[in-house]
Each structure stands twice: as C-alpha cells, then as structure tokens.
Subunit: 299 residues, 4 copies
Amino acid sequence: MNQYKVRTDLVMENGEKYEKDNVEIPGVKIRKHYNKVKDLRTTWVKIETEHGAHLMEKPIGTYITMEAPSMTADDDDYHREISVELSRHLKKLLPAHPNSVLVVGLGNQEITPDALGPDVINNLHITRHLVREYGYAGPGTKGAPMISALVPGVMAQTGMETMEILQGVIAKTKPDSVIVIDALAARNTKRLNCTIQLTDTGISPGSGVGNYRCALTKETLGIPVIGIGIPTVVDAGTIVHDAVSNLLEALEESEIQEFLGEIISPSLMSMFVTPKDIDETIKRLSYTISEGINMTFSS
Amino acid sequence: MNQYKVRTDLVMENGEKYEKDNVEIPGVKIRKHYNKVKDLRTTWVKIETEHGAHLMEKPIGTYITMEAPSMTADDDDYHREISVELSRHLKKLLPAHPNSVLVVGLGNQEITPDALGPDVINNLHITRHLVREYGYAGPGTKGAPMISALVPGVMAQTGMETMEILQGVIAKTKPDSVIVIDALAARNTKRLNCTIQLTDTGISPGSGVGNYRCALTKETLGIPVIGIGIPTVVDAGTIVHDAVSNLLEALEESEIQEFLGEIISPSLMSMFVTPKDIDETIKRLSYTISEGINMTFSS
Amino acid sequence: MNQYKVRTDLVMENGEKYEKDNVEIPGVKIRKHYNKVKDLRTTWVKIETEHGAHLMEKPIGTYITMEAPSMTADDDDYHREISVELSRHLKKLLPAHPNSVLVVGLGNQEITPDALGPDVINNLHITRHLVREYGYAGPGTKGAPMISALVPGVMAQTGMETMEILQGVIAKTKPDSVIVIDALAARNTKRLNCTIQLTDTGISPGSGVGNYRCALTKETLGIPVIGIGIPTVVDAGTIVHDAVSNLLEALEESEIQEFLGEIISPSLMSMFVTPKDIDETIKRLSYTISEGINMTFSS
Amino acid sequence: MNQYKVRTDLVMENGEKYEKDNVEIPGVKIRKHYNKVKDLRTTWVKIETEHGAHLMEKPIGTYITMEAPSMTADDDDYHREISVELSRHLKKLLPAHPNSVLVVGLGNQEITPDALGPDVINNLHITRHLVREYGYAGPGTKGAPMISALVPGVMAQTGMETMEILQGVIAKTKPDSVIVIDALAARNTKRLNCTIQLTDTGISPGSGVGNYRCALTKETLGIPVIGIGIPTVVDAGTIVHDAVSNLLEALEESEIQEFLGEIISPSLMSMFVTPKDIDETIKRLSYTISEGINMTFSS
C-alpha cells in the first residue's frame, strides 16, 4: 500500500500530533505565549536530543513560530509591529555582534507563491560594498554589520545546487552568518501567509514549492544559518488527506485504511494549493520581513 | 447540507457525466476525432437548444476542445503543429473576412497560472496602427484584418468591470469581432495545460483563477466574441471532492453523504491547485496560442 | 538648414528663455515660492491668452512645478512631505467634490524610464468596485470619491490610440475627472527625477519616451484632465545642442550657425538620455505620486 | 583642463583611430571579411604584444566583431543565421571538448538596456543538473558539455563584487570554462544593437551601463573566460564629444581646445543614451545569443 506522508515545514505542526494526547515529548521543550493586543501567538520549540529530533521530524535546534492571523490584512502599522517582533527574535538567534551577514532569497521568482525569498532581497538595505568602500554605510550605522545578499535561483535555471553556489560565495566573501529566506509548506491552510518561522537550524530539504535536495545548515555551509520562512502553500495531497481523514474518523477505520494510498494520486505530488490573492500577499509579506531584517542591522 | 458544486470551464467535462450512461443528450451534438500521429483528440460540442444548454451548464453555441497530452513537453515543432490546428479552428469560428479584430488578454499578470492571457498579447503581431498609418501592415499582408489588443487587468487593479472597459473600447475603435484569451479551471488535473477550448460563446462568468462577474459575449459586447482558453488550475475543492467520491463509491453512500458538505470547507473556495512547473508551462502555451492567432491573420 | 528644435514638457523651462531678458511675458502670470526647510521650489505658471500660449508653446491653463533636488535621495520621510504637497496642489486643480476619478498610467512598462505611469497605478488604492459593491470603500472613507485606474499600454502593444481607449472607457464608466500620469522629457539634466509638474491642461502630444499622437485633454476626453508628470529623460539631441551652444557663445556665432543642424543627426531623435540608476529612481518616484493621490482621496 | 576620455567596449572602434592614417599597428593583426549575402561584416583583431595592447587600450587576446545592420529588424530567419555564425566563432574560442561550461548573465534586469545578460540566461538550455542526475541531458546530447548558468546581479543588489561570487561558485562547481554575456557601450550610435563582440579575454572593467570594478578574466577566475557582448548604449558624454569634435574640425582648433573639458559636464558621466525601442531590441538580441550558445552545446 502506498502510504501518504503529510509534509509540513512548520515544526509546531509536527508538535501538534502529540498535543491531543497531552504527553510530554521527551527531548523537546515547548513554550507558548499569546499577546492579546497584537493577536500574536508565539511558540518556542527547542529540540534538544536526537530522540526529540526523530519524534519532531526536524533537526536539533531552536524554532520560533509567530502566528498572526491579522497579517493577511493590508495594514501597514500592524506589519510594522510584526517586523519589530521578527527583528527581536532574529537578534537572539544570530551570533552576538555579527560583522558580516549574507542574506539569501531562495525560490523561483517566476512562480508567485515561491517568490517570497527573492522579493525580500529587493527590499533589503545592502551595505557590504558601501562599508568596504567608505568604511561605513551611512549616518547612524556605526557598528552595524555589513549586509550582502544573493538570489541564487533554482536548479532548473542554474544547473547547480543552491548549496554549491552558497558554499562558493561564502568561501570567497567570508560572512560570519547566513540568513536564508524561503517560502514554506504548511499542512493547515489556516496558517498560510500569517505564520513566520525562525530557526537556527537553517533550511532542511524542503516540502515547499521548490525542492532543494541539499540542506543549508551550519554543517553544509560552515557558519551559523538562520532560516526565516512563511508558509505560502499547502501540498495538494495534504488537502485531500485531511478531508478523507475527517471522513474516516466518523466511520470505522479498519476496512478503508487501504483506500487512502490510492486516493492520493502521485500526480498530486507535483501540484500545490495556494490562495487566489497570493500575489498581493507575497508583496506585503516580503516587505515585512525585509523591514525586520533592515531594523536588525540598522544600529 | 452544504452541497459542493464541482465547477469546470470545459464543456466537454460537463458532457462526460452523461457518457457513462451512454445516453444521447437532447439538444446537444457531440463529435469526436482522434489524430494518432499528432496524439491530438478533438471534440466538437454543439449546444442547440436551451434544454441542451441547461443540461451542459454552458450557453448555446459551438465548442471545440483540443486535447494534446504532448503539449506539456517543450517541443517547438509539436507546438507549431498545435498552433496550425488552432488557427484552422479559429478561422471557422470567426466571421468570414473580418476587417478588424480586437484580441483581449484576460487575467492577472502577477499570478503565474492566470497570466496566460496577458502573455499571449505579448507575442501577438499588432497591426491596427500600421494599417491606419500606411494602409497595410507589411509585405504579404494585403487583405489581412487589422489587429488590436488590450490587457484590461483585473478589477482589484482597475476598479472597473472588464465588460465596461471592453464595451467602451469597442464603441470607440469598432472592431468587428473580439477574441478573448483566458486561463480556465478544469475538474480533472490530467487536462491541465494540455487542452485548448475554442468557443463562439465568448467567456461566461468563470471558475478560473480570476472571477469576472459579467459575461463577455455577443449579447454584452455587441459583436461576435470567440473565447480561447486553456485550463491551468483545478479548484482545491474539486480535488477533495473527487478523492472523497472515489472513497464513497467503495462504501455504501447513504449514511455518509452528509459529511461531504462539511469536508469541503469554504476556505478551499479561495484556493487553487496548480502544477509546480506552471511558470514554464505558461510561457510555452501563451506562445503557441499567439502563433496560432498570428497565423490566422497573416494572409 | 535643418534647425534643431529643443523640446521640453516642462512649461517652466519654456519660460526660462524669457527670464534672462527680464521681460514680462504678455498673457502669462508666473509666481515663485521657495521653501527653505524643505528645499522645495514651487513655480505657478498661468497661461491666460492664446498669445501667451504661443510664446510658452503650451496650451492655456495652470501649471504647477515642484522642484525638490533632495527627491533623488532615498529618504522616506522627505518623500512623504512631497506627497503631502503634491496632494495639496492636486486637490486645488481637481473639480470640487469629485464623485468618481479615473487615474491613467501612461507609458511602456518594459522601458525603465517610461514605466513611471504604470508603477504609480500599482501603488494606488482602487475603490470603485468596492464602493459599487458595498456602498463605501472601508472605514473612514465616507465622502471619498470612487477611484478606478487603467494602464492602457502603448500603441505598438495595442494597435489603438490611447485617446481611443480612454474615450471608450470614460463613456462607459462615467468618471467626472481623469488624472493622467506620465514620464516627461526635460531639457536640463539637473531637473531629471526631482521635478513634478501638475497641470489642468492634461497631456499634450509629447516629447517623452513614448509618443502619444493625440492629446488627452478636456476637449478630447470630455471631462477635466489633470496631468502629473516627472521628467525622467532628456532628448539625446538636446544634450548635444546645449553643449554646442555653450561653445558657440564663446565664439562668434555668425559663421558657424550652419553647422548646428548637421551636428545633431536625425538618428539622435530616436535616442534618449537617462541616468544609470533610473530603475530605483522610478520605483521611489512612483510611490511618492501614488501616495499623494491616495492621500487626496482618502477623506 | 579636464580631458574627456571617450570610452568604448568595442576593440574595433579603438582600432579605427589608426585607420585614417593607414598605419600598421605594431603588435596587432587585423583581418576583415564582408559577407554580402548576409550583409555581415566580420573583423578579427588579434592583439599579440603589450605594446599593441597599450595602443588598442584592450588586453592581449583575440576579438571577433560581427556587424550585421539587419539585426535591428524583427526577422527570425536572419537572427537564426546570426546565431549559427555566433556559434561557429564561439566553438573556436572555447577550449576543445569542454566538459562543463558556466554561462554568466551580467547586468541589471531592472534597467532595460542592461538586461541583455540576464535575458540570455532565460533562454538557455541548462543541463548540468540533468547530466549529473541521469548521465546525459536528453536524446542526441551525448558528448555535449554540462551547462550551468548564473545571474549574479549587480553590487547595489548583492553588496558583493561579481568577481567574488564567480570565484566562489567556480571553486565549488568546477566548470572548465566560463562564458560571460554583457551589454556593452559603443562610441558610435550606428553600431548599437547590431554588433556582437566575442573575445577570449573575458570582461574588462567596463564602460557599459553597469560598472564592474573587477575584471572577469582567466587571471581572476582561473579558467578560460569567453566574453560575448552587444553594445546597447552610448555614453552621453560621447555623443557630445563627437558633435563638438565635428564642429571643431571645421574651425581652427588651437583656441577652443580648452572648452571641450568644460562642455562635457561630469553629470553626463552618469547618463547613458539608448534607442527608444530598446525593450523589443533586447528581447530579440538575447534570444539570438541564447540560440547561438544552445547550438554550440547541443551536439
């Protein structure tokens, strides 16, 4: 039987399956906080052991998830508040006093929900060339790190693994940390475009629109890698899986378990589901992230 | 109970539900042809009565559907053959000896699977201004109609109905027919990006990515309207519906019919499903259609 | 002899040739104001008679020019101040209490310095469809006019005159005024990208990058037409003309006047001159104008 | 006195200044050929000594220039012939039997005349990932080299020198040669968009729209670097210089030489001149080059 494996890039969605049973997950610490004024729910997940990593299906490390349902609205002030929060978390995940940071926008600019990473780069304040030329990047920027940025493209466009490109560029330009921006896949449509995940584990081979076969992590790139992601798609297979699961819960499961694998056809694997207003959403979100990063490095 | 209504823009998919029963559909003539060399299946559907229109859920008129599975491959020669076929059908649907034709590219350029219409316009040979200035559009174009083109945008961008914009432009520039290009929704993922529908009924309020509330037809625009569409998306709800239907067929239906409505949540209505390589597909398809139109008017 | 005619879309540049002689221009009133804090020089030109129009080479009407050299810097706060000023002038030029305004973004999106108009439309708050659907456009918008917008494209893309398209759309959607945004040509490079001209005379057949053969004015469109333009290019011929003129002033003019026509070759007529950072400049400027318009209609 | 230095990226334009005097240039071999049927003028320049390099103001190496005035027309068949010629020259400049080639599209996608490089990459057949995955890139590609490609962006977007990015990527992915595509500056407007220069000397710090401070050569990148360029702009200063020079030739030069420096103002240095139809031209040219490269590596 062809067992369908629901995929998510959000560690907190993997944590949820244990929640119903109200169990402690060994090797995993989870802390939650809800800011009522901002309607912002923050979840810290700290995976501390290999056993915990196995249970959560994500590498050892720290994951911060910001859920802000109001982010789907076009409200500049609210987005600024989210940028401030994002910046606060980012500063904690980064090594203290970074000297030079490379920001990488993953994804395919030509596919609307995958353009988040490249769009973030468009709004960033790039300063490495200014600092190297003039000693600093402008008034009030003393002590701020040098920022460089790259949009490596996807393998069908370059013929090269993103990891290869980054390894080369890092060896040459010697940043002391990398921030990688990527569009993610969630398993729950209600988290699309209103959830930001930050992690110090970089980017694992993903379930997003693009498929990066190699991990972008401290192990592969040699320096700390902070991943920032927003889920912009849900796998088409996931949607079907959830609908059928709901149905099955109301029935006896024994006899029909075997239909599941057949129902989710392989062709669905190459499809994704995304909201119809994804274009405007991507523009807004990429701006919020860039501003958060800009703030992080502007003093 | 919330009854989910599967939508498709392809008239032949509406015809299929009657096929299993092998019944004649009153007021509807269907003819099929399969060209083995080209792996091209052509279906002519002629809806002749209001009763037939009700059964097929599409207006009275002629619909030609070209199914060419190999269109998803990047093969220039094959695409040229499809352009030739498309041009042949288009000439039959158009009034004889058109003098001036307006081609309209519907859809939102910013959303990859909805950009088909605008992309077609980019590859068209526009000649109206040349004919008006010099009397003809270039060597070997004597007798060819004047071609003008418009990308009206979507209502969120313009604040105006597409119908209003076209009515105004037609009143002023007086073409004698309109060709409207649009991305469609299919109900079967296997038809995505490899099916072209031509019709002399224009564009009905659609189930594609964009939602045009007003029909673009001879009735609303005052001149013949040829619609050319390619399905690039399937509704997220449709995918779930089909999966669950398959499951239900293997069970007794009586007791679980009522779950269906709940399973397909309203939020799915604003989502769509599309293949992960939709960007390259759209470029290729839009080129094939433009070439078909270019050929139509080039002699 | 082939007499080169220097062209500019800025009425104040046509006024300058009379300034040296310190003469009153009959039929023309000119008023100037300099705001030292904002480093903003505002010039009001009122052409009142046909004789004045002949001397100024622009139609009868009011022209407001804002010169703000600091606009070329990437300073959000300063741009906001300019947007406020722009909005103040725009409200005076518009008919009192407009009910419905159509904003038109002229120019070719594919040519960087000509993309100003389309870029402005991207940042506008479009409300006509909301007002028509819900009675108003959102909280705090009572009494604000309905805003619709159109990017008509250029004739090589559409085969239609922009005037024809607008006449049609206006007849159908019945706005009570039109605001037309366009990239202009200046004669002095130091005015590029830091000068905004507003006028109640619409757009005359221009010397900008695109060439609109028909005027967009109250006469041709039937309702008030406000033109907003920013010079983004200087004609290549103009640059040569000015250089040579400087040279000639230092020599005797008599014997070499005849060389001028030959020096400015016809091929220069189809070239333009533009700064190398025109891409970022266009983005910033289009945002400033959209915000000015947004402010105008947001209360 | 501020001496204006006319810049060109075309080595043959530097050669022209010696032609009037009909002198042999020591250390430089020049050969010319005119194909009347194709209206194609080919010039081979071989700079063999440091003295020759000094006279020609270009590094030692081979330069092939194809001048094809008809390239500015939109004629697919003619462009195909030019692609064939380009491919023939490219094969001779490349090392025999390359195993892996990296193609780099220099320039800024956001500035129309500088987008040539990135546009070429869009039309390339990328095969490195296919060869590494499946052993070959498709039917009939046995023996063809692996092709990878990169659009590095410009320093204001990345904060990194293009040279640094390429050095890193080459160290990691180990191609055996690099082809660099770039938009160039000519000194004569009649060569714009109808001249292709190929060279085995890579790219020197340029006078094109973008300004790459570091050379991309065999010395800096460690492997052979083939440069392919098309002039798409002329420096604004050059246009003025030429006009004034023409004037001066008709006068006595002695007394007015000193005006030249003042006439060409420094602000012109940051301007460029480009034809008004540059957008369509860039699309057509980039396609011709990609096809030439595609042909080179398709057997």
